[in-house]
């Protein structure tokens, strides 16, 4: 908990700097955090068995909404992600982030004991349908995160090593097929990842400027609000997906190390909660939530430091944005609920 709050506060400071000392942005994020924390508090007070009960309906609703998006969704920035409900718009893929691990955890908790091969096949199908729908939107970042969250459940539920290995080989073999199914901009991103200098003013610009920001931060960093890359607008999307570059530039290697430690502590705590959880459902859910959090952090920092392709994944707890903050805190709320209710379940 303490790590969580500390990270949130660090995030606010970085945001202040990243937004060009724009206090309204910081206030906005503050409100986001307050809303998200209240969601967390609410989720923490929901007993896991209640979660278990709503897992199936929530998942079904999510899939239906995703289909609706594919059919009637609003297009913005070349992607069809939003569903207009008259007054407001919703993004069903966000709902799926919570619904997916709940659904799979629920499914495998029903197959207690040793789940059969068929169960994994069904689980895989439950996972792939929404992921495919999201990839089609297209929203690779979210699809990867949801896919990962589902995969963690399959893995923790005991997916055989042989199958994992086989899957990895199959994946490697199907890479060319996958490549052809990717959108041009996604392919371009991967190409640019391999060599950002290919397109220094276009697609490679993000990565190059982010790496320059990180590298020029050095060991101690340039100091808060003193990052030239960030303050002089060289960094694109510096208060959202690329906020880590601002952080790395201004706080240097030491700041990065601190952030890694904070994230590690949060993940460790999550894994401990998972290991102490009493039911299969809570155990799997807690493990998946924690590892998904890790995925967020790793993919974002990896992309900013240029070892992963640029996909739209925010830095958890720090990037500006209400939706991801709420989703994250909601999942932390679930973790808390699992922790506080473990004895209840046990007894």
């Amino acid at each position: 908990m303490a790590c969580l709050f500390f990270t949130l506060i660090v995030g606010l400071f970085v945001l202040y700097s990243a937004s060009g000392q724009n206090l309204t942005r910081v206030y906005g994020q503050g409100i986001n955090i307050i809303v998200a924390l209240s969601f967390m508090w609410a989720a923490a007070n929901v007993a896991p068995n209640q979660l278990e009960r709503i897992a199936l309906p929530l998942y079904t609703l999510g899939v239906l909404l995703l289909i609706a998006v594919a059919l009637f969704g609003a297009v913005s920035h070349g992607a069809r992600r939003w569903l207009s409900l008259g007054i407001t718009q919703i993004q069903p893929s966000e709902l799926m982030r919570i619904a997916m691990p709940m659904m799979l955890a629920w499914y495998f908790s029903k197959r207690e004991g040793k789940p059969a091969m068929a169960d994994f096949a069904i689980g895989g199908l439950l996972l792939l349908v929404p992921v495919a729908l999201i990839i089609k939107q297209p929203d690779l970042g979210t699809a990867i995160l949801i896919g990962a969250s589902g995969f963690y459940i399959l893995f923790l539920a005991g997916l055989s090593w042989k199958l994992l290995l086989g899957g990895a080989i199959a994946f490697a073999a199907s890479t060319p097929l996958l490549w052809s199914s990717l959108h041009d901009y996604q392919r371009r991103r991967i190409e640019i990842l391999l060599d950002p200098t290919q397109d220094p003013l276009g697609a490679g610009y993000h990565t190059i400027q982010a790496i320059i920001a990180l590298g020029s931060g050095g060991i101690a960093g340039k100091g808060w609000i003193k990052g030239t890359q960030a303050q002089l607008d060289f960094l694109p999307e510096r208060s959202t997906d690329f906020i880590f570059a601002v952080f790395g530039e201004e706080f240097g290697l030491l700041g990065n190390a601190l952030l890694l430690v904070l994230f590690s502590l949060i993940i460790l705590r999550g894994l401990i909660i998972a290991s102490q959880a009493q039911s299969t459902f809570t155990r799997l859910l807690a493990g998946s939530i924690t590892l998904t959090f890790f995925t967020y952090a790793f993919v974002n920092m990896g992309m900013v430091s240029g070892i992963l392709p640029v996909v739209g994944v925010p830095l958890p707890l720090i990037s500006y944005g209400g939706t991801s903050m709420v989703t994250l805190c909601l999942s932390f709320g679930i973790l808390m609920s699992i922790q506080t209710h473990k004895k209840l379940v046990a007894s």
Partner: protein, 664 residues
Amino acid sequence: MRAELKNYQHEQYYFKLRLGFAAFVVLALFGILATRFFYLQVNQYKHYQTLAENNRISLTPIVPNRGLILDKNGVVLAHNFFVYTLEITPSKIANLEATIVDISKLVEVSALDRKRFNKLRDESRNFESVPIRTHLNEVEAARFAVNHYRFPGVEIKSRLFRHYPMGKLGAHMVGYIGRINDKDLSNLEKAGDLSNYKGSDHVGKSGIEQFYERYLHGTTGFQQVEIDADGRAVRVLSSTAPAPGDNLVLSIDSKLQEIAETAFGDHRGALVAINPKTGEILSYVSEPTFDPNLFVDGIDVDNWKALNESIDKPLINRPIRGIYPPGSTFKPFVAMAGLEDGKRMPPFSIQDPGFFTLPGSAHRYRDWKPSGHGMVDMQRAITISCDTFFYGLALELGIDKLTSFVGHFGFGKKTDIDIQGETEGLLPTPEWKRRRFKQPWYPGETVIVGIGQGYTLVTPMQLAQATSILANNGVAMKPHLVTQIQKAISGENTMIPAIVQDTIKLNPDNIAIVKRGMMDVTLPGGTAASVGAGAPYAIAAKTGTAQVIGIKQNEKYNANSINERHRDHALFIAYAPAEDPTIAMAIIVENGQHGGSTAGPIARKVMDYYLLGKLPAPDKVLDETKTPLNSVTNKLATKPASAANGAKKLKPELAIPPEEELHD
């Protein structure tokens, strides 16, 4: 129950194992990240540090003020002034079209302005400001300033413009600056000056502006400015002030210059006046002239066409690039050659029958006076411009001795005046003719060189310098226009000293003979008696005429019957006061017919002002009736056919060099 419990425990264990594996993967991947951070932020720190600095810091040049050009009395010939320009930074403006329409409600924006704006905008980067209007007057500038708040991204800037307040006066001498072109760039690069021209748009293109570019330009200052990703300056980190260019003081008196130019009236031609004792140029005229202000920001097509295609060739720098046969103005120098070689020493005289023949030939080289001059000695030969006398002298000296001697007076080579682009003229030799025409030299060609005809070509500058050397008794002073170079800030003043270029060893007795002959030219009985009439100081002079078109054998030159452009060029050299000269000059009036009548009065006006401070009488009509006989010209008709052929190829009239040489 037990089995179930065991199963449960087994499952718990199995789950923890997998969780542990996951934790291991998490740490491993974070480890990779940490390594990556270490690599970027420690190993590669220097590299990225530099890249970030390069992103951030921009070196902005601060263009120095160009030095002024002043006449000897401090009258400004070239200076800079600020003009207001209205400039738009397109990247800061959402709707450019609407903004321009709004601006045009405040200050006039013509279709031409918009055309230029669009052109400049295409050429510039998005974040650079581009002028929409230049030369705003005070009212317009004030009106916009009041409304400035309505136009973010539009600014009034003041830029320095070069201006020549005297306009056409001395344009060929002062020269002009123009936009730097590719050729200028490569020249600057070769000279290693390119870095000093970052930010400079202009460079001297001709005249003093070109020759003294190095002094006038100054040293560019630099400002380190922090910029953002859009190139906008955020703050100044450091700056090095520019050093303004040096001011140049010329030996020219602009009043004298004006008198000289005005004296030409509608005539085309050139005048160079030199102080023989110092080499300072006192007047430098090339008529017709042009307004150098037209060239400063790129001349427009119409004006360029008008100047470049005019048959008067106003863009030619006639004093150093116009080449003319010297005609009889050459005779004093041929006379010096003869006397120094011991030939025609007084009291040697000839009986002039009005023509000269080569031994063993019946061909007559006619004198301008068909009846002849009677008994003529060296001194009188100069005074009355006796052709027959010099035909014989030239032949006796021989072409090699003649040209090598007069070469000491600067003919056939550059005078080293401080203006670029001088041509060398031509002192013909047999060796030159072999190379040029693959033909042998004929004695007849030597004969006519004696009176400054044939292949001989001189620039007005050379003729003036030769006159100056003669006036100064053989001591050649380096001709120069700039007398002082002043540092703009410290006021430190460097005087350009008088430099002796060469000293010709001449016998004072011989000099006295030639000078006496030249003094008599402006006295009653001389060829320019009218020029000296009423002068309270003694003028030494020599008249000359250069033929523009060939006159056929037995044909009489009749000025009235031929095209004005084909009339003879009038030449005149003079110095005064004759006893102790302080001014020496050469004048060429194109198609002016005779030196004494058209060129002479110009010389008198210049000398009267220079020596007496006397302004010329307004609208003094040139008196043609007083001029002596002007048939000096048809003598060329009798030169050998071979020489005439060669001469035709060379065009002995004003040989105007090809256009591209003249104007770059």
